[in-house]
Amino acid sequence: MTTQTEAELRMAELLVEALNLEDIEAKDIDPDEPLFGDGLGLDSIDALEIAVAISQEYGLKMKAEDESTREAFATLKTLTNFVANNA
């Protein structure tokens, strides 16, 4: 597993909190592992929960229909970078 940056750990904690991932510790989420599908196995309702949490935490309004959002939701790393660059 790649080591998490501080920002990635913060984002991982937000995911665990927003999605009630009780069996996962934030520090164990691999920054390069896919969030959806075969990786962490999140689905569209989770994506909605994450968007709400990001809006509340960072004031950033994401749109599911934007191509950039699809790219942002790939991994913990891409999501953290997207928020850092846009919030």
Partner: protein, 462 residues
């Protein structure tokens, strides 16, 4: 002569759809589409089906995501005297099961991951150009459909056991929609412009975003917005009066922060119980009444209440609710059979009723219904399992998922169990968290007591 009903019971110039972006399928058209133009689109799609040798098939597994493309293809399938199969999800295993169960089936999709065992019509690259036909729109050529035609079959279960097919004949669709319109809309002659957040294949999405536009003064939109900002953008582009059709999950997300929200004229919500406090906050923020609708795939919508101020439900006219030994039975002239409801119903003196819990082991997560028994049977089929249980923890959290506690054979990892479950269950029903333990706290008689399960769960939480 067999009784018929128009494919579209709207005036030729009435707006039936609003396309939010130039449609590559329909010659770059954007904005309002009237009923007459819509029918020409349906006719062109019928030509496309024929060109692909699909006109003589019997069942179309319709997976279209673009809501307007779904509306067009749904109607084209019906016009070809075929039946739309509304799969509970887009999984390949579901497609396989449907194709095996329904001989003479094919797939229509606009970018899904599909099986190749049956013919496939990929509508994502289809354009009107090659299939545009001269359509006379006078009364004589306005398509009518036989009342007894089986227009679609919806499927209930979110787990992949033998899910029960719910047959929807043409008369079932147009008569139930007439009733729905009377109870869901505000009774004006004005067209109301609608944004819906459920997929059209889901019964709630079908009734509101596909059927209301065909038979009542509703204009649908092509979008299926997910995030709050997507929903707000979709509403923003629409003329007034505006109607939002949604679910508790989306509504909660919309009012989660203090973003300015537009004034709407009507909000409808269904799929899972809505919290009265959330209902009140939605009404205040959008400045209109919110009606919660009670329904099920077998019957469709059945009752309504203004959840912010009402506890009890008003049953729709045309539906009869009878208390029987095995539960409440719903019947209606437009339904092929009576249905035993899965909820306990308590009738009040004024003819209204209260819902008081589930009769069976059915659970609902994010609008997907599944049987805990069936889900646990699927778990038991996993080769690497020693013992395990999937259950729904009692929690205040309305978006909580199912939980699994399992003991696995040596060298079997959690990821392979989750991959197995994901293959057989709807995403929303895949348990999370999944805890791996050495053994489950069973009694000597093999039973698993709720208390021991819950205390184990508390210990397992990180």
């Amino acid at each position: 002569m067999a009784k018929t009903h128009p494919l579209v019971a709207r005036q030729p110039n009435a707006p039936i759809a609003f396309l939010s972006k130039p449609s590559k399928h329909f010659g770059g058209i954007v904005g309002l589409v009237d009923a007459q133009t819509f029918i020409s689109h349906v006719n062109a799609f019928v030509v496309a089906l024929a060109r692909n040798y699909l006109q003589d098939k019997q069942y179309a597994i319709n997976l279209c995501k673009d809501r307007y493309l779904f509306l067009v293809s749904f109607c084209a399938v019906i016009k070809c005297k075929q039946t739309n199969l509304l799969a509970a999800n887009k999984k390949k295993i579901t497609q396989e099961q449907l194709s095996e169960q329904y001989e003479g089936s094919y797939l229509i999709h606009d970018g899904a991951d599909v099986i190749n065992a049956i013919p496939v019509f990929d509508a994502s690259t289809w354009t009107l150009n090659s299939d545009a036909v001269n359509t006379s729109t006078d009364e004589q050529h306005w398509p009518h459909i036989e009342d007894e035609h089986l227009a679609c079959i919806s499927f209930t279960s979110g787990s992949t056991g033998q899910s029960k097919p719910n047959l929807k004949y043409w008369h079932t669709l147009h008569k139930s929609t007439q009733i729905n319109g009377a109870f869901m809309l505000d009774g004006t002659d004005k067209t109301v412009f609608q944004v819906a957040t459920m997929p059209p294949q889901h019964m709630w999405g079908l009734e509101t975003s596909i059927l209301l536009p065909l038979f009542d003064n509703v204009c649908m939109t092509d979008s299926q917005p997910l995030f709050p900002q997507d929903i707000l953008d979709a509403l923003e582009t629409l003329p007034t009066p505006r109607l939002l059709v949604s679910t508790p999950v989306h509504l909660r997300a919309l009012v989660a922060d203090d973003t300015a929200l537009p004034q709407l004229d009507n909000i409808l919500c269904a799929t899972s119980p809505l919290d009265p406090e959330l209902a009140g906050s939605v009404e205040t923020r959008f400045g209109c009444t919110l009606k919660e609708v009670y329904g099920c795939s077998e019957v469709g919508s059945m009752a309504v209440r203004k959840t912010a101020t009402e506890c009890s439900w008003r049953g729709f006219d045309g539906l009869t609710f009878d208390d029987k030994d095995d539960g409440t039975v719903v019947s209606a002239a437009h339904l092929p059979e009576s249905i035993v409801l899965q909820d306990n119903i308590e009738f009040l003196d004024d003819g209204r009723f209260l819902l008081s819990g589930r009769v069976t082991d059915l659970i609902k997560v994010a609008g997907k219904r599944g049987s805990l028994l069936e889900i646990n049977q699927i778990l038991m089929r996993f080769n690497g399992l020693l013992d395990g249980v999937i259950f729904k923890p009692e929690t205040e959290n309305t978006t909580a998922r199912l939980c699994a506690i399992v003991a696995l054979k040596p060298n079997v990892d959690k990821a392979s169990l989750i991959a197995f479950l994901r293959e057989h269950l709807d995403d929303a029903l895949v348990p999370r968290p999944v805890y791996v333990v050495d053994s489950l706290p069973r009694e000597s008689n093999g039973k698993l007591l709720k208390n021991s399960l819950y205390s184990l769960l508390e210990c397992l939480k990180v």
